[in-house]
């Protein structure tokens, strides 16, 4: 193999509290389309921002044509021929296409006519239909993206990085973009694109780098892989099966929670959830499988009341609770363990005891003459610390100082007590070590045994299979089907998660 055009060697990036990238190494050849595949938060954008000079790596090297280089700012990156198109475009809406393209690249008196001609020529070269005098604010998103691309081309880019470029495009626009990518690379240029869409990867990439939790988990040629393998790599196959031995198979047929034809319309007009109907029985664990970012969080938040659906109804024990907000739903006995505990589930700068109080600060049980009954709260917290074997010296320990697993146990302890009827778990074991994972699984099964209803959202298939009584698959905000867990195989579920319909799956893998 020839010397790589660009190479990243052992890059690590630490933000104050998280590891964004750890020992990331890969290279890109001239004329190659490289896809950077991974779930949200896998560290794809961070590693590209390092290459583009927006972030500085804490460890590791960057190489161009085998020589070590330093990139401290996007300006330096551009000088090396690297351009990056961010997910959110950096265009000035009140300026024309020409103004935007030459922005930052002109000095002195501007010869508008010359630039306009130049840009026109460049646009024609790639078959972009663009009027250099149009104002950005009047252009469709897909066209704006072309302006961004032209801007990069104008700067004589050899390596074009695109962050989720098709997220905002219609299928036709996306098709055009793919066409451009092929043309562009045919001339010896390279493209890296960041995505979590499997189909897109398979249609355009030459090579695929799969990232998960800040690390590289696969560096594969497109021709040598398939969507199933990629989805496995992306989701992770650390399978920690929990035994189902101690669990009674009988499910109470009594319905606890009903989600009836719920649709959630986002501001952009794209529905995050489309016509979802699910039923949750007493003493049942309903697993929600799917690649992350397909509406899981929205589904959880609709159940716990953080967002209200655009259409549809939610019933708890037959009572319509659609309009009830979070606080009312907490009082009704719905617990929620969010996927991102540091932003949604707990307050890192407060003590464990204060975190236990988070959802019940209005409740009289923790108050004495208007003040917080600290003694009672501390006693309760200490009991929970012991019950859940949370490694903490006292209830006053600040949450931030705990390990991820112990933080999760704090949230778990609180939500299990709050959720007297229903508990929603969103990715309850993500990022935890094996011991903690096992503990969380046991807790979930215990709560099921108590007759509580559990909605378990997870991208870890093993977890879904080990715990769920029934499994629903979510893809692009739609339920692909609800199955008894015995009916499904890993392969079948993988295809459903990749967006294949049940019919197709049956003929393919059934």
């Amino acid at each position: 193999m020839a010397t790589a055009f660009f190479e990243l060697r052992g890059i690590s990036k630490y933000f104050a509290k998280v590891i964004a990238n750890q020992d990331v190494s890969f290279s890109i050849q001239r004329g190659e389309v490289l896809a950077l595949l991974g779930e949200n938060g896998a560290g794809k954008s961070t590693i590209m921002k390092i290459l583009y000079g927006l972030y500085k790596a804490d460890e590791g090297k960057l190489l161009k044509d085998g020589r070590e280089i330093k990139i401290d700012s996007p300006k330096e990156a551009m000088e090396l021929g690297i351009s990056m198109i961010q997910q959110h475009f950096s265009l000035v809406p009140a300026h024309t296409v020409t103004d935007n393209i030459i922005l930052g690249n002109v000095h002195g008196i501007i010869d508008h006519k010359l630039f306009r001609e130049e840009i026109k020529r460049l646009a024609e070269l790639y078959g972009f239909e663009l009027n250099p005098d149009d104002f950005i604010r009047d252009l469709a998103v897909g066209v704006q993206q072309k302006v961004e691309i032209l801007k990069a081309l104008y700067q004589k880019t050899n390596l074009l990085i695109m962050d989720e470029p098709t997220a905002v495009l219609t299928p036709q626009e996306a098709e055009n973009l793919m066409g451009f990518v092929r043309d562009f690379t045919a001339q010896g240029n390279s493209v890296i694109f960041i995505t979590h869409k499997l189909k897109e990867v398979m249609s355009v990439a030459d090579r695929i780098i799969v990232m998960r939790a800040g690390r590289v988990f696969g560096d594969i040629k497109r021709a040598e892989t398939n969507e199933l393998e990629l989805s496995k790599l992306m989701i992770g196959r650390d399978l920690n099966w929990v035994t189902k031995e101690d669990r009674q198979e009988s499910i109470d047929q009594e319905v606890r929670l009903e989600i009836q034809q719920v649709t959630l319309q986002e501001k952009t007009g794209v529905p995050a959830l489309k016509d979802i109907s699910l039923t949750l029985h007493k003493g049942e664990i309903l697993g929600i499988a799917g690649v992350s970012g397909n509406g899981q969080q929205e589904l959880c938040e609709i159940v716990c009341g953080a967002i209200l659906p655009t259409k549809g109804k939610i019933l708890l024990d037959g009572e319509d609770i659609t309009e009830r907000k979070i606080r009312a739903r907490i009082d009704l006995g719905i617990g929620y363990v969010p996927a991102d505990r540091s932003s949604d589930g707990m307050i890192m700068d407060m003590s464990i005891a204060e975190n236990m109080l988070l959802k019940s600060s209005y409740a009289k049980k923790w108050q004495k003459r208007g003040f917080i009954d600290k003694q009672k709260l501390n006693q309760y917290t200490w009991q929970e610390i012991q019950d859940y074997s949370i490694k903490a010296p006292s209830p006053e320990t600040i949450a931030r100082g705990l390990s991820g697993g112990n933080q999760q146990k704090v949230v778990l302890a609180r939500e299990v007590d709050n959720g007297e009827k229903v508990i929603v778990f969103d990715q309850p074991t993500r990022g935890l070590d094996l011991g903690a994972v096992n503990h969380v699984h046991q807790v979930i099964l215990q709560e099921r045994a108590k007759g509580k209803s559990v909605l378990l959202v997870s991208t870890e298939l093993a977890e879904i299979f080990a715990l769920s009584d029934r499994i629903a698959i979510l893809y692009k905000g739609e339920i692909q089907g609800v199955f008894n867990s015995a009916e499904l195989t890993t392969e079948k579920i993988g295809l459903l998660m990749a967006g294949f319909r049940e019919r197709e799956v049956k003929s393919d893998a059934g």
Binding site: A16, V18, A306, K325, L358, S361, W366, I372
Partner: protein, 354 residues
């Protein structure tokens, strides 16, 4: 936690020292010996009880305005309009005292006036919280601009309804002695307002750390997302926090008008709000720390007056010193964050290396 406290102490002391050194350099430019100037300053501050007590007189309104900033700061909101809320409080204090002093007994007038100033300042502040909650406006800008509106209202009233009987200067008549805040130490200007301010500091501390309401305010401040997710209505708290904050700043108007000035003069105490922010940051938002930080600033203020009396040294040198101390204190906040981040990063790196 240990390291955090250490950072806090070291950076703050360093900030104060740097502020003093930097303003000392200014003295050098004037050809004065800063060391001797400073030693004269210190000896004259402790020379007589009147001057010494004045430190606490000056510290009183500063505690209130610092509390006002610190309170919203705990909810991760920035109320930099304490100056305006203070003016509203001062106007109400003067108006209410002048109106009631001949009708009701002095003690009662004082109580009613305190209540009115707090409600007035509170409502003035609550407006900022309201537009923040309702229209998601930037509370930083609204609170800042509201100060100018308050100032304009005060000037307008001092030219019209509240102007002295002689109608000569934009100021009110003097308040009757019956509605002055009682002195605590005879022969000094130290009035009971100082005790009120210390009580307010303690009260705010109790409110923030011992009650469910204070807990919720802090929860929203640390992580509004998680608080909302837990059924806490952050928007309601924004309004409430700004009301309490404004009420505290308004109380400063009461202690200044009824305790020190005994009248309302146009444009008095124009830097209380800004100094309050510096004090709150110096104390890292801790209400108890504010007591000490306010006294430090009070000492600087008194020192400034004395320096002005020394030959050849402009009294503005002390404002310069205050300015320097404040700038360094604010910078130290960023230094602390930087230190803290680096520490966390090293911890993480070490954990990974294992």
């Amino acid at each position: 936690m240990q390291a955090k406290l250490r950072d806090l102490l070291i950076t703050n002391i360093l900030a104060i020292v740097l502020g003093i050194v930097a303003s000392g350099l200014m003295l050098l430019f004037l050809g004065k010996n800063p060391v001797s100037a400073y030693s004269v300053l210190i000896t004259s501050v402790v020379r007589d009880s009147y001057t010494f007590a004045d430190i606490f007189v000056k510290a009183t309104p500063l505690m209130f305005t610092a509390l006002a900033f610190a309170f919203t700061y705990k909810a991760n909101l920035y109320n930099i309009g304490a100056q305006g809320q203070f003016y509203i409080g001062a106007v109400i204090a003067a108006a209410s005292s002048l109106w009631l002093q001949n009708i009701l007994p002095g003690g009662l007038v004082l109580m009613i006036t305190l209540l009115l100033t707090m409600v007035g300042g509170g409502l003035w502040g609550a407006f900022i919280g309201f537009v923040k909650a309702r229209y998601n406006s930037n509370e930083f800008l609204v609170s800042m601009m509201s100060t100018y509106v308050a100032l304009a209202i005060m000037n307008y009233l001092l030219r019209t309804f509240l102007i002295e009987t002689k109608a000569e200067y934009p100021q009110t008549d003097a308040l009757a002695a019956s509605v002055w805040l009682p002195r605590i130490i005879p022969g000094t200007r130290l009035h009971i307002g100082f005790v009120l301010a210390v009580l307010a500091c303690v009260g705010v501390w109790v409110l923030l750390y011992k009650t469910p309401l204070g807990y919720r305010i802090r929860a929203v401040g640390y992580n509004a997302g998680a608080a909302e997710m837990s059924g806490i209505n952050a928007k309601k708290l924004y309004i409430l926090a700004f009301f309490i904050s404004g009420a505290l700043a308004g109380a400063a108007g009461f202690t200044e008008v009824n305790g020190v000035q005994h009248m309302l003069v146009q444009g008095f105490n124009p830097d209380l709000g800004a100094a309050g922010i510096g004090i709150a940051i110096l104390a890292n938002g801790n209400p108890i720390g504010i007591i000490f930080a306010a006294i430090l600033f009070g000492a600087l203020k008194v020192g400034g007056t004395i320096m002005g009396q020394m030959s050849g040294i402009p009294s503005s040198i002390i404002e310069l010193m205050q300015g320097f101390v404040m700038v360094f204190v604010i910078l130290s906040y960023f230094v602390r964050t930087w230190l803290e981040n680096n520490r966390e990063k090293r911890k993480l790196q070490k954990a990974v290396a294992k």
